[in-house]
Each structure stands twice: as C-alpha cells, then as structure tokens.
C-alpha cells in the first residue's frame, strides 16, 4: 500500500537527519527528563471526566490524569493499570479484579476498591455513554478488602469483552470527591483528580489545558515530561501553522486537513502515521434507509455499492491513508477479524444489471432510474464523511441514480437521520471499540428506540441477524465467540443495510522530537507516562 511506502521513505529521511547531527544519536536512545509537550486539539469537550463521557476527545486529555483499570499493550492485549490481575468464574457471572497497592490520588488519599465500586455503579453503569449498555447487567461490585473488586453480573459477561472495553469504559474516579454530590455538576469534572502520571494544573476554556508532572506516580521514576499543554485551535489551517512553527509538537486524531497532512508527510521534521491508532479504527460507511421503496430491495443496495470506485476514493480523496473495508469488523481487530476480500468490487456494468433486474430501468439513455432522487445527508464528521457524500453522488449519477445532498450541522444531522428518518442515504463514521459488542452490533440489531443516535435507524430487520448478535454477546468461549462473529459479518455484508466502504485509523502528526510515542494501539488515549522530548 502507498501508506507503507510513504512511511518507509519518511523513516529513512528521518534517520539521515538524526545521523547527520552530532550528539543526536545518543539523545535518541536515552530518555531525557523534562520539557513541555504541547498538543493541538481541534475542539474540546464539556467535561474532562472519562468515567462519565467516553470519547477520544476526553481521553486525549483526561487519561493522563485519570487512569483506567486496564489498558492495551503493544500487541493489543489487555494489560493491568490500576488492576494487577483478574479472574472470571466459568459461568461468566463474576469477575474479580486485584487492585494495585500503594496508589494514591493526586490529593493524597489512597486509592481503594471503594473508588472502583463507586465509579462502576454510579458512573459507568448510570451515566457513561456505551457504559450504560455494557454494564446494564452489572448487579454490584463487592469490596471484600481494599485491594479487591468483585464485579457480579446477572447475565454472563465474556471476560474478553469486559477487558477490551475497560480501557475506554473503565476509568476510575475518586469516590471521596464525588460521593453525595450531583456527579454531572461536580466541579472535579473540569478539574479532575486522578491517579495518573500528570496532575491537573489549569484549564482555560477555549484556550488551553495544562497538566503537571505527578512526582508521586506509582510507576517510580515516571513520567519524563514536566508538563503537557493542550491548545485548542479549531481552524485547521491555523493548526497546521502552529505545528510547522514548532509551537505544537503533536496533532492527534486526524486534526489537520488531509491535504496538509499529505504535505507534512514529506517534511523530514515530522512523522505522519496511523501507527499507534490501530485501537481507534473506524469505517466510513454508506447507510441506506430501507423504508425507501427502491432501497428495500437488496439488489438495489448491492448495485449502489458496486457503483463506487473505492480505490479511487482512497487514493484521491483520502491521500492513501485508508484501505477498503471488508465488513463491520475491521482488520485491526485480531481477536475477531478473519481475513476476507473487500465485497462489492467496483463494477459499473454489474450495478446497472442489478438495477435492471430489480425493475428500475433507465427510461432513456440518460434518464433517471428512480422517480424521485435519493436524498443524501452527509455526516458532518469531517473530510472523510463529507467528501464521501460528494463521491457517492457523482458515482451514482453514472448508473442513472440521481442524488440530492442536504448538508446539515451535527445536531441537525443527528435529528434528521436518527429521529426523523428523513433521509434515503447517509454517510457515517463508525468507530470500532475493540469488541463488536461495544458499539458495532447496534448498527444491525433491531430494537433501538427511535432517536438513539448511532444505531440501526434505517429499518433493517433480519431475525437471523438479531439471533446471531445475541448469541455472541453472551458466549463465554473466546473461539466460539469469534466464530459467531464471522456469521455476523457474513450476514451484514450480504444484506448490506450499510456498506463499510473504507477502513481507516486516525492519523497522527508529530514532531520527531517526541519519542516513546505511538507504541500502543491507542496511544493518544493512553497515559503517556514514558513519552519524552528530545532536545
């Protein structure tokens, strides 16, 4: 793929530069203590509390201050952070966590199992987005002693699912700060107190957040950095200028314009890569509203998919930073992914044939096959989904299907698609959260209430699909679970209520001075305890 070639070139030029500068080579091997890392963010969220708001935009700041029980290691396997070990019972109803000893909160109080119980029962289960679904059947968290937390479920919980969900949906906040307060309105939500390598220092909305080194961090000797500053620069061109002028060393989560990212990838001062973001893979998809008569016919849906030249889209719209999707489970998820070819290869003739078969012939050589044009609402989630909408419009024109685009801002889009169902086609950004049960199967399962965003709101209903999804969600054997998810992928691709067209990870742009970075699959969301800045 083009990406690997580009990375290889980049690595080569980077090495040349380092080799040419005397004294630099030593600096590369030996972590250097001190320094301020400045990070650019496009927007900020309302809170800095990952126990009540699950979002990369929260993790990228708060997970340096507040830590989860478990994170993912370099190979994508769960590794203990605030938990040291775990054990599930064979019936899947109980999971016991041993907690790390000698950990203190930034205010000096000790971290105990009470904090875990409070976070799980009051925040993860009741408030946290996606947590309310994942922990729906969590009955209680027992605390036999200060260093043991026993999670009891009323329905079997696959241990693998819980462990893969915990890095995102398992941040622990201090019970003594939150207990007896209105959790959503607690001032600690914007001035977090945690156990992490960095302590909250100052937060100016719309400007910056500063966190300082925590000298009492439980990993002794860490962190290396003295301070991290996050600056909010919403204008993408200005953000690029900030990184080029050296004011900022890191722009996470595809925060710059793709054209600028492509340009910076040829600049030897910076690394541009999707490495370290594999745990945050997403699909750019085309969703189809099955309530529309024409789209209720699976042949029509398949025809629309065949009409898209996705290789062209990846190369010319996304600058090669993506690959073709193969189904709702991305290739970056080794625990569930079985290699398969990308479905619905670009084949315009076949698309036209399928439409003819379905009874939607062209009235004339240039006429429209459908009486009414398809209404397409582009998801306003940045360049990927907006450009994809334009691409769909032009591609479908070629097979005699007219598309009208109706652009809206985020609240307008969510209302139009998920509440009013006032669309025929829409593009979407489907984030994969390391286990299909967290937020992937809801796209295909029936039963989501009207208005629930990011769920099946296009009238797709296949009882066989529902059965497979439910079976996988409670299957305790990891191998069998993986096998059931292959059925899920197969049905999803055959029925194609939505087309997982393109798979991509976020792109990080960072200065070559930033070291020990991007070495885990969700690095931007991790604690950065061992990151350091070269001179």
């Amino acid at each position: 793929m083009d990406l690997t070639r580009r990375q290889a070139l980049l690595g080569a030029s980077g090495t040349t530069l380092i080799g040419a500068t005397p004294g630099f080579a030593q600096g590369q091997d030996q972590p250097r203590r001190g320094g301020t890392l400045t990070v650019q963010l496009t927007s900020e969220q309302r809170v800095l509390n990952p126990a009540i708001q699950a979002s990369t935009g929260v993790y990228v700041m708060a997970s340096k201050i507040v830590e989860p029980l478990v994170d993912l290691d370099a190979n994508g396997e769960p590794v203990g952070l605030l938990a040291t070990s775990w054990e599930g019972t064979p019936d899947g109803l109980t999971v016991t966590f041993r907690l790390r000893q000698g950990v203190t909160w930034h205010d000096g109080r000790p971290f105990t199992s009470r904090d875990v119980r409070f976070s799980a029962m009051e925040c993860w289960k009741k408030i946290l987005n996606y947590g309310t679904t994942l922990y729906q059947f969590l009955e209680e968290v027992g605390t036999p002693d200060d260093n043991t937390a026993v999670f009891r479920f009323s329905r079997p919980m696959p241990l693998g699912l819980l462990l893969r969900a915990l890095p995102d949906l398992g941040h622990v906040i201090p019970a003594h700060v939150y207990e007896g307060t209105d959790i959503r309105a607690n001032p600690a939500n914007t001035a977090p107190i945690g156990t992490g390598p960095f302590k909250f220092a100052q937060y100016e909305r719309g400007q910056f957040l500063i966190a300082e080194r925590n000298p009492n961090y439980w990993r002794s000797g860490f962190p290396y950095l003295d301070r991290i500053v996050w600056r909010f620069i919403s204008d993408r061109a200005a953000a690029t200028a900030a990184i080029e002028s050296g004011q900022v060393q890191f722009s996470p989560y595809s925060g710059l314009a793709l054209s600028d990212i492509s340009r910076l990838s040829r600049d030897p001062r910076f690394t541009v890569s999707t490495q370290g973001n594999e745990g945050n893979t997403a699909h750019t998809v085309m969703e189809m509203n099955l309530r529309r008569r024409e789209l209720s016919d699976v042949r029509v849906r398949r025809a629309l998919c065949h009409a898209l030249d996705l290789n062209f889209f990846v190369q010319d719209f996304l600058y090669g930073y993506a690959k073709l999707g193969t189904g709702p489970i991305p290739s970056s998820s080794p625990a569930f992914y079985v290699p398969r070819p990308a479905p619905y290869a670009f084949d315009r003739a076949r698309a036209e044939r399928l439409l003819d078969e379905a009874g939607f012939r062209r009235p004339s050589r240039t006429g429209d096959r459908f009486a009414q044009p398809l209404k397409l609402l582009p998801a306003p989630w940045g360049e990927y989904t907006v450009n994809f909408a334009t691409f769909i419009q032009q591609s479908l024109r070629e097979i005699g299907v007219r598309v009208e685009i109706d652009r809206r801002d985020a609240p307008g889009f969510l209302t139009g698609v998920y509440r009013d169902h006032a669309f025929d086609l829409t593009t979407g950004w489907h984030q994969y959260r390391n286990d299909p049960a967290v937020s992937t199967t809801v796209w295909f399962r029936t039963g989501s209430p009207v208005g629930a965003p990011w769920t099946n709101q296009y009238g797709y209903n296949n009882p066989e699909m529902d059965r497979v999804i439910d079976a996988a969600a409670t299957e305790l054997d990891a191998e069998r679970r993986k096998a059931i998810y292959q059925d899920f992928v197969r049905i999803a691709v055959e029925d194609v209520p939505l087309h997982c067209a393109v798979e991509h990870a976020f792109i990080s742009v960072y200065s070559n001075r930033l070291r020990s970075s991007h070495n885990t699959p969700r690095w931007a969301s991790s604690s950065w305890y061992d990151a350091w800045l070269a001179a």
């Binding site: 301020t36 400045t38 927007s43 969220q45 309302r46 809170v47 708001q53 699950a54 979002s55 990369t56 935009g57 929260v58 009741k126 408030i127 946290l128 987005n129 996606y130 309310t132 679904t133 939500n189 909305r205 719309g206 400007q207 910056f208 500063i210 301070r227 500053v229 600056r231 909010f232 620069i233 919403s234 204008d235 061109a237 200005a238 200028a241 900030a242 080029e244 002028s245 004011q247 306003p380 809206r408 801002d409 985020a410 609240p411 307008g412 889009f413 969510l414 209302t415 139009g416 009013d420 950004w429 984030q431 937020s439 809801v442 209430p449 208005g451 629930a452 965003p453 990011w454 769920t455």
Partner: protein, 327 residues
C-alpha cells in the same frame, strides 16, 4: 452631569422593548433549528445510547415544553440571571465576562487603528485629490476592501509565524509561562498584532473612502472659501474648519459598524484561536447552547447601545449646534 445620567438611563429604557423582542424571537427561532444541545453533545462524544441521551435531556431541563422553558428563561432574566451554560457548565455571565475582555480589547484596538489610519490616509488623499498620493491610497483602499479577513489572517500566519517566526500564530498569550506586568502587556500585544490588522483592514478601507469623500465635500463649501479668504494658513483651514466638519459622518459610521465588527470578529477569532465573544457565539450555535447564545445577544445589544450613546455625545462635542439634550 445629572442630565447626562438621565439621558443614559432613558436610552437604556428605550432599548428594553427592542431587547425583549430580540430575545423572545431568537429563543423561538432556535427552536426551529433541528436538534438540541444533547444531540450536539452526543455528536461530540462520538456516540452514545438512548438511555444516556434521555437522562441528559432531563439534566439540562429540555424535557419541558418550549413555552415553559421560555417562561423559565424570562423569569430568570428579570432577576438578572442569565442562566447556566450547557457546554461550559458555568453561569453564562461568568463565561461572557471572561470572553468580553478579550473581544473588547481586540475590537477597540482594531477600531482605533482603522479609524485613525483611515482618517490620516483619507485626509492625505483628499489634499492631493487626483494626484499620485490619492491614486495610490485609493488603490490600496480598494485592495484592503477586497481581501477577505480570514485569508489575510492565514497568509500573515504563514509569513510572520511559519516562515519568519516573528509573531505567534495564535492564542491570546503565551501558555504555561508566568509573566506579569509590562512583560504581560507586551506578550498580549504581540499576540494581537495580526488579528487586529486582519480585522481592521476592511474597516480602514471604508473609513478612508468615507473621510476622503467627506473632506472633498466640506472643502467645496462656502465657509472654507471664507476661511481661505481671511488669509488663514492651509493647515489651519484643514484642521479647524474642514476636518471637524468632515468627521461627523465618520463618527456615525463607527456607531453603525460596532455590530458589523462583532460579526467579522467571529472569523478572525477562529483563525487566530482567540478566546473571544465571536467564537463563543459560533460555538453556542453549533452546540445549541441556548442560554449562552441569548446571553451573548443581550450583551452585544447592550454594547451597541452604549457605543451609539457615546457617538451621540461625540456629535455634540464636534458640532455644538447638536445639543446632547436635543437628541
């Protein structure tokens, strides 16, 4: 002095019905926009379930009917309470207070720069009308007027921050360094140079054209001829007789354009990541933060009223025939 205070109070009272109509109208208009602040929050989080969404609606008080929400808002307003911002989790008044300082400083500087530079250039052009300085200045004015402020801002960033590294590319101050006193003033000034220039140039062009035209008009009037006939020096004629009279339309324009400038500052504040009122307003629309938006509209309206009041006082100062009491 007492008469002045009475006048100010009367002006403010006159503004109240207008403000009420604006606020209620805006409140109802925003109900027509699809989606609410919880939708915006869900979009920002990148996902969530229906359960979480309905709990959030309850938390923000969005589960009540629209008229009840409006009633609650107005009731709070008469108690001088602007309510709570859903995106900031703080009282609206506090957030606006923080942002107002930045915008006020930024806009006053831009306005002063545009006004004084426009004035000087306009006078120069008028004195040598149709000569080369006039042609040069008028052409420059046209160029300034035609350049979009966001583009100019970005180009200045590329030149002065990325290439030359003379000025910081954005922000309101150096982050994470403890500076105070004169160093702080200097630091903020350094951050404001590019934003002020990119916001001011369009207005500068307008003032320049206006000043030139109004100078030319006044110069052709009888009393100027009389002054010259009296044997007054040209400089004195210009300063004492022409300039003072030519300033009146300029001052009118300043009053009118405060609101236009508030609109223009949204773009410039975004480009330079300035934490000002304009960007706050934009964010509030995108995030459907109703309380915040209404608060901003209220504060902006008061600002415009105040500026126009000052303009009225200036009239009286410039032209004694217009008494403050007569308005």
């Amino acid at each position: 002095m007492r008469r002045l205070a009475a006048l100010a109070l009367r002006r403010l009272l006159q503004a109240i019905p207008t403000l009420a109509i604006i606020l209620v109208g805006l409140f109802l208009l925003l109900q027509l926009a699809p989606g609410d602040t919880v939708d915006a929050l869900m979009a920002q989080m990148g996902g969530g379930d229906a359960e979480a969404a309905s709990r959030l609606r309850e938390f923000y008080g969005l589960d009540a009917p629209v008229l009840v929400q409006l009633g609650r808002y107005l009731l709070r307003l008469v108690q001088f309470d602007l309510g709570f911002s859903s995106i900031y989790g703080k009282p609206v008044a506090t957030v606006i207070g923080e942002r107002l300082i930045v915008t006020a400083l930024f806009m006053t500087t831009a306005l002063c720069f545009a006004f004084s530079a426009g004035l000087v250039l306009g006078v120069l052009a008028a004195r040598r009308v149709n000569g080369w300085p006039d042609t040069l200045i008028s052409t420059l004015g046209l160029v300034f007027y035609a350049i979009p402020s966001f583009w100019l801002g970005l180009m200045m960033i590329v030149l002065f921050s990325v290439k030359l590294a003379w000025l910081p590319p954005g922000g309101f101050g150096t982050v994470g360094e403890d500076i105070a006193g004169i160093a702080l003033v200097f630091d903020i000034a350094k951050h404001l140079v590019m934003p002020v220039v990119s916001l001011a140039l369009i207005f500068l062009a307008i003032y320049l054209r206006l000043m030139r035209a109004s100078m030319l008009e006044v110069m052709s009037l009888d009393f100027v001829r009389t002054a010259r006939a009296k044997g007054l020096a040209e400089g004195k004629v210009l300063r004492r007789h022409v300039l003072r009279n030519a300033l009146l339309p300029m001052v009118t324009f300043v009053g009118l354009q405060t609101s236009t400038m508030l609109g223009g500052s949204v773009v410039v504040e975004s480009v330079f990541s300035l934490p000002g009122l304009g960007r706050l307003a934009y964010e509030s629309v995108a995030q459907r933060d109703l309380n915040m938006l209404l608060g901003i509209v209220l504060v902006s309206a008061i600002m415009v009223v105040v500026v126009n009041f000052i303009v009225d006082l200036l009239y009286a100062k410039l032209d004694p025939r217009i008494g403050a009491g007569a308005t």
